[in-house]
């Protein structure tokens, strides 16, 4: 199994190396981390001094927006690789090898998850919004990283070509709207955002920061929402390639 995984990873690196868009998506999380931790503090302080507005109020919002961009980028990267393999019927071929269709999907979803997990850990580690118990820190990172396979599978199961994929990837950027809903929409109307997995991740972070008693509830809901959406997408994808 290790040999098969190594081989698939090696083939991915080759694919990424030869495709500028995928290459950019691969190094995207690193660029985001650097931009967030160097550019945003400077930008916010400039805005504060120029317009005399206390931009610190929006620090948590910008933290979550940048955080969600990490799984979004790696999820799209995984999704486009799956889409290319779906288009060229390579997934069909995997299903008649010892790797199998399930092994293939597992690999394709695990890699974006792991890349996102590492980048989320780095992103949060250097942020002052990560002051929470270590176990909460890990759980929030895991839940955020689960977005990446969800986006990959969403792209692969709803798009039939890479062109469709581009359109869908733009739509998936809507996931970033959740922090805006929670931070800017009156509390009674916020729940309309509950259909978005990122809504529950935002709630999870909010409870970790200021309402610890609700952390477990939001954690369970977040896990359930992600697993339900993943299962739905997996079934849809499996039906398509059967």
């Amino acid at each position: 199994m290790i040999k098969k995984v190594a081989s698939l990873a090696h083939s991915d690196l080759k694919n990424i190396r030869t495709d500028p868009m995928l290459l950019l998506a691969f190094i995207g999380p690193l660029i985001l981390i650097v931009v967030y931790h160097t550019g945003i503090p400077v930008g916010l302080s400039m805005l504060t001094s120029q317009f005399n507005v206390d931009m610190r109020l929006y620090e948590k919002l910008s933290f979550l927006v940048f955080l969600f961009m990490l799984p979004l980028i790696t999820g799209m990267l995984g999704g486009f690789l799956m889409l290319e393999e779906k288009e060229s019927q390579l997934i069909t071929y995997y299903s008649i090898t010892p790797l199998g269709h399930k092994g293939y999907v597992l690999f394709r979803l695990t890699v974006p998850f792991l890349i996102t997990f590492i980048s989320v850990l780095l992103f949060m580690k250097f942020s002052h919004f990560s002051s929470m118990p270590i176990i909460w820190f890990v759980f929030t990172a895991i839940i955020t990283s689960m977005l990446a396979p969800l986006i990959s599978l969403g792209l692969a199961s709803f798009a039939t070509t890479r062109v469709d994929g581009f359109a869908l990837s733009k739509m998936s950027s809507l996931l970033i709207v959740s922090p805006f809903i929670i931070f800017l929409v009156p509390s009674g109307m916020q729940w309309i955002g509950g259909v978005l997995p990122t809504f529950w991740i935002t709630k999870l972070f909010q409870s970790a920061w200021s309402n610890p008693s609700e952390f477990i509830v939001h954690l369970v809901v977040s896990i359930c929402v992600h697993l339900i959406v993943l299962l739905f997408l997996y079934r849809r994808f499996s039906r398509q390639i059967a």
Partner: protein
């Protein structure tokens, strides 16, 4: 080797069956051909046999094991060449073979000698997307052999090949049979089936209409006559003789002794004509 009993299959959301009560068996070391027009159910049948399509009714035994209960190791023993070669377009010929080989945890055949066998030894480092259709088909065949499977499934293996490479491909398939492999061929090229298959099954509308050897079929459905074309005062003429006791037929003996013979052909028909006679359907 492969036994199929009363196989039925319906695609999800379809109201009619694609495979309708098929029963047959394939013997070890045999080249068995599924022949039929497009949409007859050949590819569906192949996809069931290679374990890709589930949810069928009836029994499919590969060796002693029913297909529903097979382990993933089953896939080490089958090699499949789909009609449309599916490879990584940005990888070279050799990179593709190395990659697909790495999915198997067993001793592989030497990719260099496989590629040499199909005449691709000068294209080891050519990107897949730069290969011609014929080259892609040959690479497709190599990949199916790479892990040395005991059963080969070949879907339209000569599609897109020029006459010379078609012959090369047929020769390679025969060689695999000599090595003891069981080969299941899906095609609508009657000449290929006639040249290669030990037995053929005619499939129309999801049903097998007939199974037999190409030779038996041609004899059974052909005319037992010999047609002789000869020159008679510069005019090309032909004469049919019944094969029954042809050696003692004075007219036949007189003709071949006295006239300038141009051609002699027995009229045992072709597999394509038999197919039309049996099924009432032309191969498209």
């Amino acid at each position: 080797m492969i036994t199929v009993n009363n196989l039925e299959f319906t695609y999800p959301k379809s109201t009619s069956q694609t495979i309708r009560g098929i029963t047959f068996s394939i013997h070890p070391g045999e080249i068995f051909g599924f022949l039929g027009p497009s949409g007859a159910g050949k590819s569906t049948l192949q996809n069931i046999l290679i374990g890709m399509l589930k949810g069928y009714r009836g029994d499919v035994y590969i060796g002693e094991q029913e297909l529903r209960t097979i382990h993933r190791d089953f896939f080490k023993n089958i090699g499949v060449a789909f009609e449309f070669p599916n490879f990584y377009s940005k990888f070279t010929v050799l990179e593709n073979l190395h990659f697909f080989g790495s999915l198997y945890s067993k001793q592989l055949k030497d990719p260099f000698s496989l590629l040499a066998m199909v005449g691709l030894e000068d294209h080891l480092h050519t990107r897949f997307s730069y290969l011609s259709k014929g080259m892609k088909m040959r690479l497709n065949f190599c990949r199916a052999l790479l892990h040395d499977p005991s059963i080969l499934f070949l879907d339209e293996p000569t599609s897109g090949l020029d006459p010379r490479n078609k012959e090369v491909m047929k020769e390679m398939i025969r060689k695999q049979q000599e090595e003891g492999k069981t080969i299941i061929l899906t095609t609508h090229d009657m000449q290929v089936a006639d040249d290669l298959c030990n037995r053929v099954a005619f499939i129309v509308d999801g049903q097998i209409k007939l199974i037999d050897t190409p030779r038996n079929l041609k004899l059974q459905y052909g005319k037992r006559i010999v047609r002789i074309e000869y020159r008679d005062n510069a005019t090309l003429t032909n004469w049919d003789f019944d094969l029954q006791r042809i050696g003692s037929d004075p007219a036949f003996l007189n003709l071949i002794q006295k006239k300038e013979i141009e051609t002699i052909h027995s009229q045992e028909t072709t597999l394509g004509k038999v197919f039309i006679d049996v099924t009432g359907t032309a191969l498209i």
